[in-house]
């Protein structure tokens, strides 16, 4: 399976993602934002970081960079595109997934492990994951998911919520919402579910001795689903 990780000026989780993808069998290529052509890929990843210093709105500048037109075309033709953290912010700015990510409700940068509950498994990202709840890491200042009421209705009607913040038992409540996100949303899909944006970083949970293994579960499962 071939993957591509896009590096924008200010990306800082691109190499972590490269390590994670390769560890679980992807042949990964790093792609520079100013390139026009996307290499042949089964999965494209927009990594975390602070592209363009978060100027204007997080992800807004990166969403207009040269490579993004190819990424948008790839996504619109059914290609798998996953945006993590800043990558999620870039995805909402392109309009590939609905909504926006606002400043965290309590104005603090949050860096900690969280639990997320998988809301939908009828997609290539989470199909066949045995667990209902995964422990991932979050590190962001603008992760407060917001959308209009009309968008929320559409998202819910189409079952586009991918994961919600919860406790270790999968209970989704306000007290387990780290950033004020609408409905505890931590990640969402586009309508067709080939595009996934999420704030948590699975690539930070791929080593038992460093963090945890729930990211390993995610990536192992993902590559199997793509085969």
């Amino acid at each position: 399976m071939k993957s591509s990780v896009i590096t924008f000026p200010g990306s800082n989780c691109d190499r972590d993602m490269d390590v994670a993808l390769k560890k679980f069998g992807f042949k990964n290529k790093m792609v520079w934002h100013a390139d026009a052509e996307l290499p042949k890929s089964d999965l494209v990843v927009l990594p975390g970081g602070f592209s363009y210093g978060d100027y204007l709105r997080c992800g807004s500048m990166a969403s207009k960079s040269k490579i993004m037109q190819s990424v948008i075309n790839f996504a619109n033709s059914g290609g798998m595109v996953m945006g993590i953290c800043n990558g999620f912010q870039i995805l909402v700015e392109t309009g590939l997934v609905p909504g926006v990510l606002l400043r965290n409700k309590y104005l603090e940068f949050i860096c900690k492990n969280v639990f997320v509950k998988i809301n939908d498994k009828k997609n290539k990202y989470f199909k066949n994951v045995d667990n209902e709840v995964l422990e991932f890491h979050i590190a962001h200042n603008e992760g407060n998911y917001f959308c209009t009421n009309d968008q929320l209705k559409e998202i819910e009607d189409n079952n586009q919520i991918a994961i919600n913040y919860c406790d270790e038992n999968g209970k989704i409540e306000d007290q387990f919402n780290p950033n004020g996100s609408t409905k505890n949303i931590a990640g969402i899909f586009n309508k067709e579910k080939n595009v996934l944006g999420m704030m948590p970083h699975p690539e930070r949970m791929i080593d038992a001795s460093l963090s945890g293994e729930d990211g390993s579960l995610f990536f192992k499962n993902l590559i199997n689903n793509l085969k």
Binding site: L56, S60, V100, K105, Y106, L107, Q151
Partner: protein, 80 residues
């Protein structure tokens, strides 16, 4: 020609920064404030000399980049 744009958050969108500014003002003794909403201001100096054309271009900029219409409104201020 210089054209100015003001971008504000829509009414129902939470503005935590505005809230904190409000609280701070309150603590400084400005205690008669109902609400503070923070926005952005842009000055765009364009080569275009026709007022209407320039405004139309800036409007396009607002829609495509300067504002995110899910959460923000923009207001173009007439050049003097």
């Amino acid at each position: 020609m210089k054209i100015s744009v003001i971008i504000t958050l829509k009414k129902d969108v939470l503005d935590p920064q505005g809230k904190v500014i409000h609280q701070t003002l309150d603590g400084m003794g400005f205690d008669d404030v109902y609400e503070v909403r923070q926005g952005k201001y842009f000055e765009i100096d364009t080569k275009e000399t026709d007022n209407n054309k320039a405004k139309a271009k800036v409007e396009e900029m607002c829609k495509k980049l300067l504002a995110n219409l899910v959460i923000e409104n923009y207001k173009i201020i007439d050049p003097k």
